[in-house]
């Protein structure tokens, strides 16, 4: 039963959980470590799953908290996260000049999202990247749907202002 739960509910979430961790710590290796820690913890406590109402939301909350803790410990250790290597997901025939502009824009968006308050940043990420519904986000972050909408509205507004200025 528990092994089935692990394979049917938890493992399919791993990509999403990884992306959420990555969205917080902005480091792929760290995000993988965090996800591995979480999955091991979940596996070792499989007897407790029956007592968890929404296992999916529990996993997201856990990865969020672990990622924030890891980020804090990284900040305490004054470890400078390596600058993210630009990934060329959309390979096209951009010229070097266009590529430079694209990098600048990307950096600007990164900074803008990084400057958002924690709730806004998480809501924005869960909605835009993970395509979650407002209800799912509310359950995952343990906040009201109203707060989800307000946070997303403010985050998008900030983004629109930034893009309009550029």
């Amino acid at each position: 039963m528990s092994t089935d739960t692990f394979h049917s509910i938890i493992l399919p979430l791993k990509e999403k959980l990884f992306r959420l961790a990555y969205g917080i710590v902005r480091d792929r290796a760290e995000a993988e470590d965090i996800l591995q820690d979480l999955l091991l913890k979940l596996w070792s406590r499989k007897d407790e799953w029956a007592g968890i109402g929404n296992l999916e939301a529990y996993c997201f909350r856990a990865i969020k908290n672990m990622s924030l803790d890891r980020l804090a410990s990284l900040a305490i250790r004054k470890t400078i996260l390596p600058q993210r290597e630009e990934q060329c997901y959309f390979v096209d025939n951009h010229s070097p000049h266009q590529e430079l502009i694209r990098k600048e824009q990307r950096s600007m968006i990164d900074q803008c999202i990084g400057a958002l308050p924690e709730t806004q940043r998480l809501v924005f990420r869960l909605r835009e990247v993970e395509e979650m519904s407002y209800r799912q986000i509310a359950v995952t972050l343990d906040i009201s749907e109203e707060l989800v909408k307000v946070s997303l509205f403010r985050a998008r507004k900030r983004m629109k202002e930034l893009l309009s200025r550029y």
Partner: protein, 192 residues
Amino acid sequence: MSREYINILLERYWNCETSVREEQELRDFFSRADLPEEFIQYLPLFSYIGEEQVVTMSDDFDERLQASVKAAGMKKKEKTRIIAPLLRIAASLLLIGGLGISLFFITRQQNKPYYTETINNTSDTNTAMQQATYALEKLSDALQMSEEASVETIRSLEELDIDWSTLDSLSNIATDDSVKVNSLRINKEDNI
């Protein structure tokens, strides 16, 4: 998709009125190579979202995870394999030891000979017999001596030639005197 429709979608997007499916439509639109000039300013945002959606883990993550799960399982098994048998062995030894010690003391108490002091911790029966004979001889001598002493005392009393009847009469006189003294006391009390 017409520009008007995209503009409407965008306006709804900024106001958080779009559905997940409509937002997907917007992302698809912004991934087009021939993006109209008026929408270029929003491209970085949708490019960013598109890039973040395809961030994936390392290829060997599953292998590492399986190895970690296996290692964690092995640790757990080792713990149970090492500790549990040790505890069982320790408990068995304790039980056997306890039983052995108790049996040793019980049998020792039961086998303790009551003549230990007589034979002075030796198992030589001849010595025990000699000592017992010696003790009995001593007892016999003592009895004989006391018997002889009693005979001598009787004999010396006979030699004294005491008139036992006189002694008896003396005792009668003593009782008569005491009666007299008592009667005198009563008379004195009456006179007073």
